[in-house]
């Protein structure tokens, strides 16, 4: 009886939230009707191409633990402004997954403080995802919490905490407001399809997330929710700029919407004279399906209470500094890491507590007119595997 009550309560909650989503879409429609009509069309074309190579030292082939080799990434984007209140953005990308629709959304702007975004977009989470295009980064690979497949031991670790760019279907409400001339406050809240996984999953399945075979739809009809708030302090007179932000997201990744995940993050950006500093910390708590026979499913047995823990936790961070040293040369140093706590599948090479730290130094040389060469060397310090040295080289061009 209690179980039935809980099921009904959960379904009602889910239904309430879905009605909330529907109400938000209707609100956007109403807002669009109240806004002035389209006056003209201003089109802007942008894009980038990046050709890179990942080299793993001390091995003829590291394909068993890394995607070493050539990778080409491309993006093209068209932005159309119909009026001061309505605009559309469409972006197509090509990389390891083939062609992907990275953006297809409509923005309705009522005021600086109130903007509606609906379609397929990057939900506001973290500072790194604000700069989602590869041409905007000074290294080929992403910080470990956002790794999308370039890290060594990517399969054992199942990538980062929220691989970037994270793109999803849904709607977002946000805005920005200045307090005086020093403080900018930004905020956003969204409902999106959410991350995906198997019915009896133990973790998010990032291939499903990007696979059209399951259609580009929410796999469980239960939206994921999240938001971000950030503040920026502009002290240009003192040659300083600081931003601090916090993000959160919650959803269910299995088709039955029984397995939950919660992601949180804080980020810090600072610019002091010539140096840019970035730091982020992300944490994800993921529910696992125990299955009919947990003893054969997991590597470790139950706790002292005789029960198997349904959750595993992973967190990660990066600290990064970048400084221009010559008119065409910028140098970068990054320290990042990942940890994982909790039971693992019986076949996993990880342990109940595993960690990886990575040290990176690199540089970017501008060749002029949108061309840039990126070079970086990385040292991986694994808790469960041999340490590794890797290098990345890329040439990137903006279109």
């Amino acid at each position: 009886m209690k179980s039935l009550f809980q099921t009904m309560r959960r379904q009602m909650k889910s239904a309430d939230k879905r009605w909330l989503c529907l109400a938000a879409v209707l609100t956007i429609g109403m807002a669009a009707l109240l806004l002035p009509g389209a006056e003209s069309q201003d089109r802007n074309f942008a894009g980038s191409v990046q050709a890179s190579y990942l080299y793993v030292h001390d091995s003829d082939s590291a394909r068993d633990r890394a995607l070493d080799g050539f990778i080409t990434e491309m993006s093209v984007k068209v932005a159309v402004d119909f009026s001061d209140h309505i605009s559309t953005n469409v972006k197509v990308c090509f990389s390891c997954h083939g062609f992907e629709l990275a953006m297809a959304y409509i923005d309705l702007t009522v005021a600086d403080e109130l903007r509606f975004r609906v379609g397929r977009f990057n939900p506001s989470f973290g500072e790194f995802q604000l700069r989602h295009d590869p041409a905007n980064h000074r290294t080929v690979d992403k910080p470990l919490p956002y790794d999308m497949g370039r890290m060594v031991r990517l399969r054992e670790w199942n990538l980062g905490i929220l691989p970037a760019p994270y793109v999803d279907n849904g709607l977002e409400v946000g805005g920005t407001h200045w307090f005086g001339t020093l403080l900018q406050l930004d905020y956003a809240a969204y409902a999106v399809g959410g991350l995906r996984g198997e019915s009896d999953g133990l973790d998010i399945d990032w291939i499903q997330q990007r696979s059209g075979a399951l259609y580009y739809l929410d796999n469980n009809s239960r939206p994921a929710y999240g938001g971000r708030i950030s503040a920026t302090l502009d002290l240009s007179d003192r040659e300083m700029l600081y931003s601090v932000g916090a993000s959160a997201m919650q959803g269910w990744y299995d088709p039955k919407s029984e397995l939950s995940y919660t992601i949180g993050g804080v980020d810090l950006y600072g610019r002091i004279k010539r140096v840019e500093l970035r730091a982020e910390y992300l944490i994800r708590r993921t529910e696992m399906s125990l299955g009919a026979d947990p003893a054969s499913r997991f590597k470790y047995g139950p706790g002292s209470d005789g029960k198997y823990d349904r959750y595993h936790l992973r967190d990660g961070f990066y600290v990064e500094a970048m400084v221009p040293v010559l008119p065409r040369l910028e140098l970068l140093a990054r320290f990042d890491g990942l940890r994982r706590f909790g039971n693992v599948p019986a076949t996993s090479a990880l342990r109940k507590e595993s960690a990886v730290l990575r040290y990176t130094v690199g540089g970017a040389v501008s060749l002029g007119y949108g061309m840039r060469i990126k070079l970086a060397a990385e040292y991986y310090d694994f808790s469960d595997f041999d340490d590794e040295i890797a290098g990345t080289l890329a040439v990137v061009s903006v279109l």
Partner: protein, 169 residues
């Protein structure tokens, strides 16, 4: 082998910290060293260029703007307005005219419209939800005669924007 790698890792980290320390100690203007594709910037545009370089390089390389296929300055009104709304852009209404003035000048020079851009620099900037007009609609008088000198301080009139878009192209 592992010990050697750890030693290498520490060396790499130390090198990174040295880079940071040298950058913090420098007296150079932030980001202004990245003057790669711009060429010589006139003295009266220096502060405008530095506003552009300082703000725009926070999210993307300066080449993103400099290599953009923009020929009409009114496009910059729309685009800078978008950037003002981008989370954490730190582009305040008071600063947008500086960025626009540089972009006008750069685009005009690229298109062979010598000096027109600097003269037609925005007196006000993109349309505000609070009532100001777009710079390109409130154009300078015919012939491009400026209503303020090209090297005058940025307009004091507050600017906000209406057009909306995602953060970086």
């Amino acid at each position: 082998m592992t010990t050697e790698l750890r030693r290498l890792g520490r060396t790499v980290l130390a090198a990174g910290l040295a880079i940071v320390a040298s950058g913090c100690a420098s007296q150079a203007t932030p980001r202004a060293d990245l003057r790669t594709d711009v060429g010589e910037v006139p003295a009266n545009m220096q502060s405008d260029y530095e506003s552009f370089a300082s703000n725009c390089s926070k999210c993307h390389g300066l080449e993103r703007a400099l290599a953009a296929p923009v020929t009409d300055n009114k496009h910059w009104d729309i685009y800078v307005a978008k950037m003002m709304r981008t989370a954490g852009s730190a582009i305040h209404a008071d600063e947008a005219p500086h960025i626009l003035r540089f972009l006008y000048w750069y685009t005009d020079r690229k298109m062979g419209r010598e000096t027109e851009g600097a003269k037609a620099a925005p007196v006000t900037t993109p349309q505000s939800s609070r009532g100001s007009s777009p710079a390109h609609k409130e154009a300078a008088p015919a012939g491009g005669a400026p209503s303020v000198p090209a090297d005058a301080p940025a307009p004091a009139q507050p600017v906000t924007s209406e057009t909306q878009g995602e953060g970086t192209p």
